[in-house]
Subunit: 322 residues, 2 copies
């Protein structure tokens, strides 16, 4: 049977009907900004009802950024979505849609999407990391989605890789997120721009705020300053990934998120650092590659995590979810 | 039924008959140094036969340091035990003992011992870390022993926590092992001794080589230099543990190994660092404590990982091993 995955993000709510094979049969999107106050639950329910549109559907899973108590189907903390905190979403949403509804962390859902249908579909051990405003992650080990005892595990962006490094949004210093996120690229771009004012990056920075995508574009055009920023970012990413290689011994590390569009400018130096720092045979085996599902990994993974009335996974994973 | 666990170490071979409740019914030990060349397999087999001594036993598991291919019951690489590399130990040992024999990494076995019978016996998520000459580790997440795709996962000692830090035995710089092992304590003790020559540590270092246990003893006597060494070690340990807290969201982190005898001198600063660096709610939940089985964790864990002729775990774990 099909399932519905919903990606509840800070900018959009995307709901999709997904088949057992990971095909998106129908999809709707609402900009989160357009949702009137106190109407978030209602809007999500509307998206679900609308996307269902006659399809036979066995269950729904919401992928939400922040801290999730999966066992209670509750969002404990979500930075931009306070409205849905501390609500039994399974009950609230179930009442409105007549469907079985569960809740999952968005990065875990995206990791599960890549595992079931994307870069990890042929393996049992996958590390997924997403480089966006922050750095999110999800781990599948021995076919098991690593949630941790409270569902707050898999926070790959918040391992310390430079104890005296820049302050991270989480309060710590030198987290992977503070050194390899899109935000970190922009910060470092400002610094390098002022060190190399005659570079294309330096000249742009005088005119306006430099975005991550500017750095990628300038690197593609061969600008030395932009190349340096991405090379350093890749090096930091690689320091973090080397640790994950030693800890998880995964077949694949899939890198997604906006900043992953810098592609080999970041992944090349990251791979080099992993070869320098990780141990054999783990480092010899691991494939570090771009995630293959793009922004759809969230709805696909959420759908694959949806459970029916009987508590079983609707899309019937061949591998284990705990 | 009972099982036999064997801890095949660089200094001793310890074999024990263990009951389903984790009770050691019989134990024998041989110093590894006394084993004649090319007699290691034979000696292990003798230890097994001797310890069996009339007990009903369903299977044997050998815990070996180094890289293990668990699926093939083979030691791929073991720093001080080259003799047993690349041998089908299940076949060689089975022939000699008439028992079903499997092989496991020693730190994973010790972690499993703490999980089944020790500091982690009441939880589903345990991080075990052993501070000895090196830093070893093992992780149980959702009741699953994390081996990774080749059985070389769980290498917690080789995550980078200070990219420009001291060189590690593995070739990398700034691994947790390079900063928080017994070896690291001795190295740092030499440095602090020369900075503070009038401290008790400084005076001892002039007379002879300072060992880890000297540092603990001097700290207990209140020597400032020794206290500083252990406080710094605990801080580095805490930086590593904070990452594991965010990644694994475990209920318990159990710290074992020789250097853990420094107890609160190391664990106190480690806990403080975890509170500074890890995220809620994971950091609020986790208990960081001394491992409870001591050096017996290896034989106990190995016994609990022994499989019978039918491939089932002899001591019948209630939790999952993959």
């Amino acid at each position: 049977m099909n399932a519905i995955g919903v990606d509840v993000g800070g900018t959009k709510i995307a709901a999709a009907v997904v088949s057992s094979e990971g095909e998106i049969l129908n999809e709707v999107r609402y900009p989160t900004q357009a949702v009137p106050p106190n109407r978030l639950v209602e809007t999500i329910a509307r998206a679900v009802t609308e996307v269902k549109d006659g399809y036979a559907v066995g269950g729904v899973c919401l992928a939400v950024p922040g801290l999730i108590l999966a066992a209670e189907n509750k969002v404990v903390f979500s930075p931009n979505l306070h409205e849905i905190e501390d609500i039994r979403l399974d009950e609230e949403m179930g009442r409105r849609t007549g469907l079985s509804v569960t809740v999952e962390n968005d990065a875990n859902a995206a990791a599960w999407g890549e595992f079931r249908f994307g870069a990890g579909k042929d393996v049992d051990h996958l590390v997924f990391i997403t480089l966006g405003t922050g750095v999110g992650g999800g781990v599948i080990t021995h076919g098991v989605l690593l949630r941790g005892s409270q569902g707050s595990g898999g926070e790959l962006g918040h391992v310390t890789i430079d104890p005296a490094g820049p302050r991270c949004g989480c309060g710590n210093h030198g987290c992977l997120e503070a050194l390899a996120s899109g935000t970190a690229i922009e910060r470092r771009a400002r610094e390098v721009a002022s060190e190399l004012p005659n570079s294309a990056l330096g000249r742009l920075a005088i005119q306006r705020r430099v975005l991550g995508e500017d750095v990628t574009r300038l690197a593609q055009e061969g600008d030395e300053a932009a190349l340096q920023v991405l090379q350093e970012t890749g090096m930091w990413l690689g320091i973090g990934l080397a640790g994950f290689v030693n800890v998880f011994n995964p077949e694949v590390i899939a890198v997604g998120g906006g900043a992953s569009r810098a592609g080999e400018f970041v992944l090349g130096p990251a791979r080099k650092e992993v070869q320098l720092r990780a141990r054999s045979p783990s480092r010899d085996l691991v494939q570090i590659q771009e995630a293959s599902l793009g922004p759809e990994s969230g709805v696909l993974g959420a759908a694959a995590l949806a459970r029916g009335e009987d508590g079983e996974y609707v899309l019937g994973p061949s591998k284990r979810v705990t």
